[in-house]
């Protein structure tokens, strides 16, 4: 028992500070990916409802590809594919070569996957808002952008929130995959600690508990946002 406490403790003898840094990387990556995924997903859902069939088709192709591919494969495609492309570009043009770090690769891959799923959530939320809301806004003389911002969006967030909450949980868990391409996140730190200390059960168990804590915290936050979006409704 004492050994366990030493191993998980902070400082030179324990792995506690390494794990804590890993958790910070996990949270940072998730939070950095979220805005990309949300914005891209929102515009994809607009494209899917557009009357322009070419735009609709393009958005559908995007969703089909990135919803169908395993997240791990998407990550590797970005990691090897984009880096190889960047390298050949720099060789062809003579510009100094740049390589994407595993953090950026994780952001791109997970953001793209998130947006493919989020576009479907937004799309069904758009469909749940009656046409009269838009028409009412236009009848009041608001411009199209204002109608979207002041009338549609507040209702959209309320309807889409449960679905987006699930996607956030998936995103948080999917960040663990980025450890495979070398990002020093929670799982990666646990792996290193397990190998060095020869206590794999302890450290992978700790990593799982840490992820569980993050999920539970997230569900409290999402619950809070949910109550906030529903503050205008009658209490039940």
């Amino acid at each position: 028992m004492n050994d366990t406490l030493t191993l998980l403790g902070f400082g030179a003898t324990g792995w506690g500070d390494d794990l804590a840094r890993g958790v910070l990387v996990t949270v940072t990556l998730s939070l950095a990916t979220l805005p990309i995924g949300l914005c891209l997903g929102f515009f994809l859902s607009l494209a899917k409802q557009s009357e322009d069939y070419l735009l609709k088709l393009s958005a559908d192709i995007f969703t089909t590809i990135f919803r169908g591919l395993p997240e791990l494969l998407t990550l590797f495609l970005v990691y090897f594919g984009v880096n190889a492309a960047l390298k050949s570009v720099s060789e062809a043009t003579g510009l100094p070569g740049i390589a994407l770090s595993s953090f950026v690769c994780g952001m791109v891959a997970l953001g793209v996957v998130f947006s493919a799923f989020a576009s479907e959530v937004f799309l069904s939320a758009f469909r749940a808002i009656p046409h009269g809301q838009r028409e009412g806004g236009l009848a009041l003389g608001l411009g199209r952008a204002k109608v979207m911002l002041l009338v549609i969006l507040p209702q959209l967030i309320k309807i889409a929130l449960p679905g987006l909450g699930n996607l956030w949980m998936n995103l948080l868990k999917d960040t663990a995959l980025v450890s495979v391409i070398g990002l020093a996140d929670t799982l990666r730190q646990a792996q290193i600690a397990a190998r060095v200390s020869r206590e794999p059960f302890l450290f992978f168990g700790t990593a799982i508990v840490l992820y569980l804590v993050l999920t539970i915290l997230s569900s409290f936050v999402i619950g809070g946002i949910d109550r906030w979006t529903k503050r205008g409704e009658v209490a039940k």
Partner: protein, 270 residues
């Protein structure tokens, strides 16, 4: 007045001509498609197919069989868990809730690592109870984690589907003098399956995607074979092949689901 805008008249005639945004978007995809065709035409190598073609098919088979077997075992485990979630007994409910929350709230890759690397620490214990042959093999460890993971998700699908059947169906069955078991299997489950079909199919698709993780613990599934082929050739097209195979499998499943749903709900259409 600005209130009298042409916006009100617009919906009558949808634009027939594609607009600039659509042309640009589809143009990007066409460019990507052409780039891929050119890339494949230049990089295509018959010896690669000779070297790895059968390995890819073998990997695909490992993926499919792993998902199929763990889906079936997961379904078996999910039944008591779903019943526990719906039980009146608070202990059964708490246990079932904890099971579901644990497996849905943590990454599958961490669960797989815990089983494959972590359980090895209790080698003597598993040897003593005669289970070491199971937890020694990466394939079985992957199967074990995948089955428990999908059991948690399937339990929620099952619960949602059963609870979607109105209470009157139970009461109607009881008033006909049927036993609880007969009502459950002959009245409730068939109706619940219509609701559950789509979530179940989605779960299979999610499992096919998630099963790629077992490649990290040295199982040679489709993704494992791909990684091996890439590490031997450093040829990026190995990953593109895998992507195409995964997309074909997932799309086939999606279309099969749509077809099955149309068949099952034929009596509900007017």
């Amino acid at each position: 007045m600005s209130g009298n805008t042409p916006v009100l008249a617009a919906p009558a005639a949808p634009p027939q001509k594609p607009k600039i945004a659509g042309i640009v978007a589809i143009g990007v995809w066409i460019a990507i498609a052409i780039a891929f065709v050119v890339y494949f035409a230049r990089a295509f190598d018959v010896t690669l197919i000779e070297r790895f073609g059968s390995a890819y098919l073998g990997g695909l088979w490992v993926t499919v069989s792993l998902v199929a077997i763990s889906f079936v075992f997961g379904a078996l485990v999910s039944l008591p868990v779903a019943l526990g979630r719906m039980a009146k007994n608070p202990i059964a409910r708490a246990l079932a809730f904890a099971f579901v929350y644990f497996f849905r709230g943590t990454p599958l890759i961490a669960q797989i690592f815990l089983v494959y690397y972590g359980f090895g620490q209790f080698h003597d214990f598993f040897e003593a109870i005669g289970m070491w042959w199971f937890f020694r093999e990466a394939w079985y460890c992957g199967l074990f984690s995948l089955a428990l993971n999908t059991a948690a998700y399937q339990a929620e699908i099952l619960r949602g589907a059963i609870e979607s059947v109105p209470k009157g169906q139970w009461e109607g069955g009881r008033s006909l003098g049927l036993s609880r078991q007969v009502i459950f299997f002959k009245v409730i489950v068939p109706q619940a399956m219509i609701v559950g079909l789509r979530p179940y199919a989605n779960e299979i698709i999610l499992m096919i995607k998630a099963s790629a993780i077992v490649a990290i613990i040295t199982v040679y599934d489709l993704f494992g074979v791909t990684r091996q082929a890439y590490s031997r050739t450093y040829d990026f097209q190995t990953y593109v092949w895998a992507a195409l195979l995964y997309l074909i499998v997932v799309e086939a499943l999606r279309h099969a689901t749509n077809w099955a749903e149309r068949r099952l709900t034929v009596h509900l259409k007017r």
